[in-house]
């Protein structure tokens, strides 16, 4: 099954994933860049350490479930899946192209290994709750439902309906991961629709809240391990991330949320990521 990777190997993997995200978005000619880059460490940690899964058997009935609620960040999932062996990396070039299994927003029925169809925001947590309830009815233990949500999508009321339900039924087999990158399409989240105090909100809804540096792979792995051990409540991990992480001129800039990547930008981004790759190697040598 899943090979054990060291933290430095995972960091290098995350960097490879970032490079492939840039390449595939350039090729596609459209798509969101900031979110996927910011989520690269989290998806690396999920696919190469945290999740119980088998890329050769995507419908394995013992697998953990990973739901992507903010479907527009799917490029990071596609790249992580390709690196994990779900499909050939060559196929990444087909993103958003006619006939591709890699739709602009993820469609479960097109690509084995996707667990939900998403894009319209705010639904993932409800689906996670439904899955967790079904597992409980079937007395299934030791399987978890992870659901990655954006912070902008927390504006959706549907999320909070689900938060109440998961808390009511004490769904300890649900682990929410919020990509707290503080941006959404119209600007900073705290200007568009303030979310803070975000941890206090989730606590008030009956959740156990963990906060991590979303670019510290060890912290992400440890938080998920802790979340699995907490049985009294559902757990949400607020992962503080930098949108566009790894590419200096994109970092923190909300304009890259859905920005078209020009070839010269892509070149600059790849150059930065290559330099970063050297740094990761250097740090661990």
């Amino acid at each position: 099954m899943v090979k054990h990777y060291s933290i430095s190997e995972l960091e290098a993997k995350a960097n490879e994933i970032r490079k492939d995200i840039i390449k595939m978005l350039e090729q596609a000619g459209s798509g969101h860049a900031a979110g996927p880059l910011g989520l690269a460490d989290i998806f690396t940690a999920l696919y190469f350490d945290i999740l119980k899964h088998d890329p050769k058997k995507p419908d394995w009935d013992q697998r953990d479930i990973l739901l992507l609620s903010n479907g527009h960040t799917v490029p990071v999932r596609y790249v992580a899946m390709a690196h994990a062996g779900y499909f050939p990396k060559e196929e990444l070039k087909t993103l958003r192209k006619f006939g591709s299994r890699l739709q602009g927003h993820p469609e479960r029925t097109k690509l084995p290994g996707l667990e939900n169809t998403s894009g319209p925001l705010g639904c993932g947590l409800s689906q996670a709750a439904g899955m967790a309830l079904a597992m409980r009815m079937d007395k299934i233990l030791h399987r978890w439902v992870y659901v990655v949500m954006g912070d902008g999508e927390l504006d959706e009321g549907n999320i909070w309906e689900a938060a109440m339900l998961a808390s009511k039924y004490k769904l300890n087999n649900v682990i929410g991961i919020i990509d707290r990158n503080n941006i959404q399409i119209d600007g900073p989240t705290e200007e568009v629709m303030p979310l803070d105090d975000l941890a206090a909100k989730w606590q008030a809804f009956g959740w156990h809240v963990l906060e991590v540096d979303g670019h510290n792979i060890q912290e992400i792995i440890d938080a998920c391990a802790l979340a699995r051990a907490i049985v009294e409540k559902p757990v949400v991990i607020i992962a503080h991330t930098i949108p566009g992480k790894g590419v200096g001129f994109m970092e923190y800039d909300f304009r890259y949320h859905g920005y078209l990547l020009h070839p010269e930008d892509a070149k600059k981004a790849l150059h930065e990521l290559r330099t970063l790759q050297g740094k990761i190697r250097g740090e661990h040598e």
Partner: protein
């Protein structure tokens, strides 16, 4: 005209015809389906008694989820349960589900292809006193337009029971439309029901009357009276509005001179819309459509409202005379 051999009741004109709310049949059907299949589960948005899910809840409390007044959550939780192999029936009033949560149904159920059964109770103006907010008229249109979605409006409680059991065995997403008021029972346990089939309830040669839901009773009454007035009407009951049984409809329409559709909902996008689309492509005929014409309901007694909005057998009779003039 002649009655079909579909084991309907002998006389629809009888004064003290037995009545029962259509939703009661759903409640019984769900319980039966749940006994037959352990994967049948249910969720409700704070209307467990009204939607008749209470029978299921009492028998299978561990398979019942109460989501509170949260219809968006209701259907998306259903999507999640279905993804794990369950067959979820999720219920509320039709005005709220599918009234409020259409996009969630579109993305997480239809496009995501999960066999969630959305049960909308209290559809139509016959909801009565509660008024326009609660009289759902647009649900057929909203659900019919969605790819992958099956749309069913049973004609009485016995058929609702059969439809519910059939839906539990079907792998597609579906919408089941139920009415609140006691509705005349015109079928029996022996009357056939299959998803996707329309049924000729009475045979005739002059005119085809196509009806769905509780309006089929009105159509049958109209056909009986029309016969005594020299008009030989064929009545087709269409419990499955989507996929529409175009073969049965076209077989009839190709023989008769004109067509009337009857429904308790908006004609636009409803049964009237569906039949008009079919006939204008395949077999253009003179057509009159009875239903709600681009307007809302209001408070009142159910019978009073049906009369006011032109949804009775009398209006079907008038339309038949008018169209054959």
């Amino acid at each position: 005209m002649s009655m079909s051999d579909l084991h309907l009741i002998k006389d629809v004109l009888v004064k003290d015809i037995a009545k029962e709310p259509i939703r009661k049949g759903f409640g019984r059907g769900l319980l039966e389906a749940a006994k037959e299949d352990v994967n049948v589960v249910a969720a409700c948005a704070d209307l467990t008694d009204s939607t008749q899910m209470s029978l299921f809840k009492a028998e299978f409390p561990d398979r019942f989820i109460e989501v509170g007044v949260a219809e968006q959550n209701l259907v998306t939780v259903g999507s999640g349960m279905a993804a794990m192999g369950k067959i979820p029936f999720v219920s509320s009033y039709a005005a709220f589900s599918p009234g409020r949560n259409w996009e969630q149904i579109r993305t997480t159920i239809c496009l995501n292809d999960q066999p969630v059964k959305i049960v909308g109770s209290h559809a139509g103006v016959s909801v009565g006193l509660d008024g326009a907010t609660h009289q759902m008229l647009e649900d057929i249109a909203l659900m019919r337009v969605l790819p992958n979605m099956v749309v069913i409006a049973p004609g009485d409680s016995i058929e609702a029971e059969k439809a519910t059991r059939a839906l539990a065995k079907d792998k597609r997403p579906a919408y089941l439309r139920l009415a609140r008021e006691a509705t005349p029972i015109i079928t029996t346990d022996e009357t056939p029901f299959e998803i996707g089939k329309a049924y000729v309830y009475s045979h005739g040669n002059d005119i085809t009357i196509i009806a769905t839901g509780a309006m089929t009773y009105q159509a049958m009454v109209a056909a009986m009276k029309l016969y005594t007035q020299g008009i030989d009407a064929e009545v087709i009951h269409v419990p499955t509005i989507k996929p529409l049984d175009s073969v049965t409809i076209l077989n009839s329409v190709s023989r008769t001179k004109a067509v009337i559709t009857v429904e308790e909902g908006q004609i636009a996008g409803g049964l009237g819309g569906a039949v008009a689309e079919l006939l204008s492509e395949e077999c253009p005929k003179k057509l009159k459509r009875i239903g709600m014409r681009d307007r809302f309901g209001e408070s009142g007694e159910p019978d009073e409202l049906l009369k006011h909005f032109g949804l009775t057998s009398k209006h079907v009779i008038l339309a038949a005379h008018d169209i054959l003039k």
